[in-house]
């Protein structure tokens, strides 16, 4: 959501905290929370019953899927209402078929800006957003430990490390225009995690 400020610059607002909880005081509710269309690939891979522990990086990934979604839907304005149409290729995000959902997200970066058109006002961010989603897709591919008999080690939740890897990972694939659009975000991200130097 956003709040229009008097200065005319909208302020993003993180909303809807009714399913939030403190780590030290977990709820007795055992439902998996989160909006399924934007759920991270890792969590989707575990299914709703598998109880993969929620990590910070899962939330970071969900944010990126939201951003990508907003840039590919068509918003039609009629009188006082809006009608949102999404491309068919992301329909599986909105169904209970997790395999199709995962496949749709895996192919998404390759199709983003190609078979999945970007709405006009967001086109300048196409390359940046493609790299942002591709980072999470590649991370998910890397988690498939093909051919190894070693048990998968449980992942520790390290938000700072996850964010540093995220910044480094996306920058490695950025084109010049994407690097330019991301420059300010990069500075803020690194300052927020206390790593202002080059990653």
């Amino acid at each position: 959501m956003y709040n229009p400020s008097p200065a005319g610059k909208p302020e993003g607002v993180l909303n809807d905290y009714d399913l939030a909880s403190w780590r030290e005081h977990p709820t007795t509710n055992s439902d998996r929370t989160g909006t399924i269309p934007f759920m991270s690939l890792h969590m989707l891979g575990g299914g709703l019953e598998d109880r993969i522990p929620r990590l910070y990086r899962h939330d970071a990934e969900s944010f990126i899927w939201v951003l990508a979604y907003i840039t590919v839907v068509n918003v039609e304005y009629k009188d006082c209402s809006v009608k949102i149409s999404r491309p068919r290729i992301i329909d599986p995000w909105f169904t209970g078929d997790y395999e199709s959902h995962i496949t749709s997200k895996h192919v998404f970066p390759g199709e983003y800006g190609r078979r999945i058109p970007i709405t006009d006002p967001h086109k300048r961010y196409t390359n940046a957003i493609r790299s942002l989603v591709d980072y999470w897709v590649q991370l998910d591919y890397a988690s498939y430990d093909l051919g190894s008999d070693e048990p998968v080690k449980p992942e520790t939740d390290d938000p700072k490390d996850a964010l540093k890897k995220f910044v480094k990972g996306v920058e490695a694939t950025f084109r010049a225009d994407a690097k330019r659009e991301f420059a300010n975000v990069r500075t803020l991200l690194l300052r927020a995690i206390g790593a202002p130097e080059v990653v």
Binding site: D18, N74, E76, S81, V82, F94, I193, G194
Partner: protein
């Protein structure tokens, strides 16, 4: 059969599941103010709500569904209430959009040129008008009693925001709230012996009033990019502290 009919005959409106606090003709409800610690005060404030100014309405069984609608307080609405039903809230599929119709069918992508711009301006003007009149939202939900009330989480986020630039201005404001324990699902759960733990699984009717925000998909280009990363930072900062 006769006994059943006689039993049903004795049911009042509340026994039939009607939430009488929300079905008043005046569409007004008394709620408690929320202080900076996220606690409910003892006082009561009358909040007007507008059922036809629906912001969100998920499909679900009673006891689970969340509904959000426009609201205002006496003298705090910023002007006379707009005509009810001013903002259409139909919804076809999906559960991700607020105050919108979501259509899975692909359409021509684009803003539609000058015609699209005109339509967008009409829509924005209509939104501005109704938000001026109903500057708050009333959220009606059935959270589990084992969860922290949303007003307490919001107050915590606000406190963090007082000391941090990445959070300040990027969390909502929780103004009034109330739990209606008489609609708790505990009684039926106890009767059916669903769980021995009194709180687990029990849901209660909770009303919370917050400042009214706008959906982020209304923003375009750089404005969307900036607002998006502000939200991203806001969720990041508490995690890295």
């Amino acid at each position: 059969m006769l006994v059943l009919l006689l039993v049903l005959q004795r049911f009042g409106r509340r026994q039939w599941g009607e939430i009488t606090e929300l079905t008043t003709v005046a569409h007004s409800v008394l709620l408690h103010p929320i202080d900076e610690n996220g606690d409910l005060g003892a006082g009561e404030v009358g909040v007007n709500f507008y059922p036809t100014d629906k912001v969100y309405s998920g499909w679900s069984i009673l006891g689970r569904a969340t509904t959000v609608m426009g609201a205002s307080t006496e003298g705090g609405g910023g002007g006379p209430p707009a005509r009810e039903g001013h903002v259409k809230s139909s919804k076809k599929t999906g559960d991700d959009d607020v105050g919108t119709t979501v259509d899975g069918n692909p359409k021509e992508v684009g803003t539609g040129g000058d015609g699209g711009d005109r339509a967008r301006n009409v829509y924005r003007k209509a939104c501005d008008d109704i938000i001026k009149a109903h500057n708050l939202i009333l959220k009606i939900s059935w959270p589990e009693t084992s969860r922290n009330p949303e007003w307490r989480i919001v107050a915590h986020a606000q406190r963090l925001g007082a000391a941090d630039e990445f959070i300040r201005g990027h969390v909502p404001e929780a103004k009034y709230g109330r739990d209606f324990g008489r609609y708790s699902t505990q009684r039926i759960r106890s009767f059916l012996e669903l769980r021995h733990d009194e709180r687990a699984g029990t849901r209660t009717l909770r009303l919370i009033v917050m400042n009214r925000l706008r959906p982020i998909h209304d923003l375009e280009g750089e404005q969307l990019w900036d607002a998006f990363w502000q939200c991203f930072m806001c969720t990041l900062f508490p995690a890295v502290q």
